[in-house]
């Protein structure tokens, strides 16, 4: 036992309090740093030495600097960030689409559609009137313009959505490479030894990046023994140790971006995160809002043209289309064969989409995509016309069983939508072939079409079909904004839970500041006393 032992104890108190104060300072400095976990100097008593009468303590040491951290909460937080990301992009995109269908803001198609049929009523009460006919042509143009604007709005939105998917993919890749870098640093810092050094701040940074990533894309992650983390997206590794795979996009035949990782398409596996949200909103808008709007326009074109071509104009002409005739758009998935199509009987056209496939026995099969029913089939002979549901297709060339064609009367329905009649005299209000200016039979039938149920639209009227489209978009947006609210609340609740464990309280740090100030003061006092004791001895 010597006085120098006392010196050492005093010194250990000074070192320990300095370290603790540094940790407190670090905490205070990072009070606003996101994902920062409060750190704490863990003090323990130093190894004691054996003296004659027992064990004598050797002061204090800082055994560890640990962070207050709950990995269970962190993993829940990651999941919730993914939900939140999905909800936020659903809400954002649907509220934009909703504006296109916003009937409350005098947008949309209800009023132009109504005005158009009202104009036919006016023609029916004044079949020979030039003014009424001219107004009808104007209202028809307004209807066409509005439909085109709505389609353009939806297409712009879809293009932006696809653009955003590419942007997010870039960000995912940049975050992934940062995570890989941190993986390397963490492994280096912690070393391969079994030392208890914890790369606290690097881990916090990595958690923060994982949170950002979770907001963007759905993934699973786990920590390896060496401290590195493996991130997989759609069952493929995005980050593993210091390696990253690049997430990439490819444009598919619909003009949409598909996601590829490690050479495999993972689009269908991404449900959550902003990417998941964008993909699902894109698919919904394409198959419901856009297709519905096109179907409505195709149906208007079809029904009006059927009646109008049967009627007679003031100039005695007949067979005139009111709107540009419906056209069949084709998509060719065959390298060796070509396809042409035309409408042979407009009233039989169902406004469904079809696909043509071939089997190994060289037979063709035409399938109605909307009902799943095979409408016709037979042995394939190049150049032989195939007729079904008012449509005639002709395929020429060599086919294989891998080939297919898709046939749709809807795709270009709005693109081709336009008023075919330019001369008011050619508006066919009359139903009889002698020139009868007062004959309003056809005008009346067309005007009354607005109240008729249309078989192609599931036996609803034009207007109720359209209002179905509006309420679909409305309820999707309602659901999206409700779940955004819910996910936001849940997220902030989880963040609060995380904060209650890992967060910094300035008051708490201030208390500790005083605590370790006192420790420092006492340690210094101990050294002074020891010094005085030494002086006493030296004076002997």
């Amino acid at each position: 036992l010597s006085l120098s032992g006392l010196f050492n104890i005093g010194k250990s108190a000074l070192f320990a309090s300095q370290t603790a104060l540094s940790v407190i300072g670090h905490n205070i400095a990072n009070v606003n740093t996101p994902s920062f976990s409060r750190q704490e100097a863990v003090l323990s008593s130093a190894t004691s030495t054996t003296i004659r009468n027992g064990l004598l303590g050797g002061g204090v040491i800082v055994s560890d600097i640990k962070r207050d951290y709950d990995s269970f909460i962190q993993s829940q937080l990651l999941g919730q960030y993914q939900n939140y990301g999905r909800s936020s992009s659903l809400n954002e995109t649907f509220s934009q689409i909703e504006q296109i269908f916003n009937e409350a803001g005098d947008m949309g198609l209800a009023i132009p559609l109504m005005d158009y049929f009202n104009a036919w009523h006016d023609v029916s009460t004044n079949p020979e009137g030039q003014a009424q006919r001219t107004v009808l042509l104007q209202k028809a143009s307004a209807l066409v313009l509005n439909a085109k604007q709505m389609e353009q709005g939806i297409l712009d939105n879809l293009r932006n959505t696809n653009g955003e998917i590419s942007d997010i993919v870039e960000r995912v890749n940049s975050i992934a490479s940062k995570i890989a870098e941190l993986n390397v640093k963490i492994v280096q810092t912690q070393g391969s030894s079994l030392s208890s050094v914890n790369a606290n701040d690097l881990r916090d940074q990595r958690d923060s990046l994982l949170n950002d990533l979770a907001n963007l894309v759905e993934f699973t992650s786990y920590e390896n023994k060496d401290g590195s983390v493996t991130v997989s997206v759609g069952m493929r590794n995005l980050v593993s140790e210091d390696n990253t795979n690049t997430l990439s996009t490819r444009t598919n035949e619909n003009g949409d971006k598909d996601l590829y990782l490690d050479g495999v398409s993972i689009t269908s596996q991404i449900q959550r995160g902003q990417l998941g949200g964008l993909i699902s909103v894109r698919d919904h808008v394409e198959s419901n809002s856009l297709k519905g709007l096109r179907k409505l326009v195709a149906s208007i074109t079809k029904e009006i043209n059927i009646l109008h071509t049967a009627g007679y104009g003031l100039d005695g002409t007949t067979g005139n289309d009111f709107f540009n005739p419906l056209q069949i758009s084709l998509r060719d998935f065959s390298p060796g064969a070509d396809i042409t199509a035309s409408i042979t009987n407009l009233s039989q056209v169902t406004l469904n989409e079809y696909s043509v496939t071939f089997d190994s026995l060289n037979n063709y099969h035409v399938i109605n995509n909307d009902t799943g029913v095979e409408v016709t089939s037979g042995a394939y002979v190049s150049g032989n016309p195939i007729t079904f549901d008012g449509i005639q297709i002709t395929i020429t060339g060599a086919i294989t069983s891998a080939d297919s064609f898709s046939i749709s009367p809807l795709t270009d329905a709005i693109k081709n939508f336009g008023v075919a009649v330019s001369d008011y005299q050619k508006i066919a209000a009359a139903g009889s072939d002698i020139t009868l200016p007062g004959d309003n039979t056809i005008a009346l039938s067309i005007a009354q079409l607005s109240d008729n149920t249309i078989a192609d639209l599931g036996n609803s009227t034009f207007m109720s079909f359209y209002s179905g489209l509006v309420s679909d978009v409305g309820s999707m947006n309602k659901a999206a904004s409700d779940s955004l609210k819910f996910d936001n609340n849940l997220l902030s609740e989880m963040n609060n839970m995380r904060e209650s464990i890992s967060g910094v309280s300035l008051d708490e740090e201030a208390t500790n500041l005083i605590r370790f100030q006192r420790l420092f003061e006492a340690g210094a006092r101990l050294i002074t006393v020891t010094d005085e004791l030494l002086q006493t001895i030296l004076k002997l």
Binding site: V31, R38, F94, S95, E98, Q99, F101, N102, E103, A104, G105, A110, I111, M114, N118, H121, D122, S124, T125, N126, P127, E128, G129, S432, L436, P437, G438, D439, N440, L444, A447, Q448, S450, D451, M463, Y466, S467, V470, S471, V473, G474, S475, N477, K478, S481, S492, N495, N496, E499, S500, G503, V504, S505, L506, D507, E508, A510, T511, L513, I514
Partner: protein
Amino acid sequence: MSISSFTILNQLTQSLQRTMDEYAKLNSQLASGKRIEKPSDDVIGMTKAIDYTVSISENEQFKRNIDEVNFNLEYTSTAMNSVSDSLLKLKELLSNAGNAQSQENMSFYAQQAGEWRDYLLSLSNSMVGNRYIFSGFNTDQKSFVYNPVTSHFDYQGDSGEINVSLDKGAEIPMNIQGSKAYSFSLIGLAPTELSDGTPVNYTQSTDPATGTTTITVEIGNAGDPDHDIFTLSNTMDLAHIMSCAYEYKNIDGSDLNADAAVNEEMALHRLSALSKPLDDAYTQALNVQAEIGTRQVGINDQTTRLDKNNLNLENALSKTEDADMDNTITELLKVQTALQVLRESASLILSESLLDFLK
């Protein structure tokens, strides 16, 4: 649960955000006066609002249609009043002519009948705007024109009824065809002999294309010197025959018979035989007037119904999509108070720190 500095800040920010959100929403409802500003505000309400708006506009259109029908029927009704008046005058003329008359009287009657004939012709060619209202669908053609070859008046219109929608699934014709207003058929049993015992035979046939009925009158027996056949298919024909008969002439201006006595007898027989068709023409004119009246009553009822219906729809629309101002303003004040309290408490909590007390 321990509270970190961030937790308090976070909670304050979120509460402020929520309240501001509510505040902004109420504010924009006040500004637009509408409770539903986009479909997702109230999906069912939005669908209803579209329904109501469409129905209101449709009803407005039906009312416009009714106005058009009413205008046309009003005009037709006025013309038909004149038609029945003219026919009544012709009846008076014919009953007077039954007595033996002097030569001057007869030519005066001839002139009178001729004037009524011309008046009826001008009525049949009434126009509203640029359409001939009695021509069926053939509205750019005069309803009746004189045919100098046959010396008859020919109907140029058709049997077209210009139907107009008054309501979903309800139509009403807005025109009366000339074939209905000016052509007529015999009603009931026709007499078989004239007052002096001469046999008379009425036959009629209707042209399905135009709806006009042609009546053939045969007086006397075949082979008799005073045997006479003539046809008429409308009131103008009738008045024309009358006018000519007063002058002892056929409709083409020739004599009926070379023998003066036979000629006079035949002319008087004709006048006598016209009495039945004239009665039936008059009845037909009255029937048409009654039909117009029925249509007018019908569309007046329909107008009242549409007005009431629209009032209900507009009320329903307003209830669905308009904001309740009192309610919205009260809500706004509540939110405002909440916002104020939140700000004050925030400034109190945020300014507190233990660090302020450290020396």
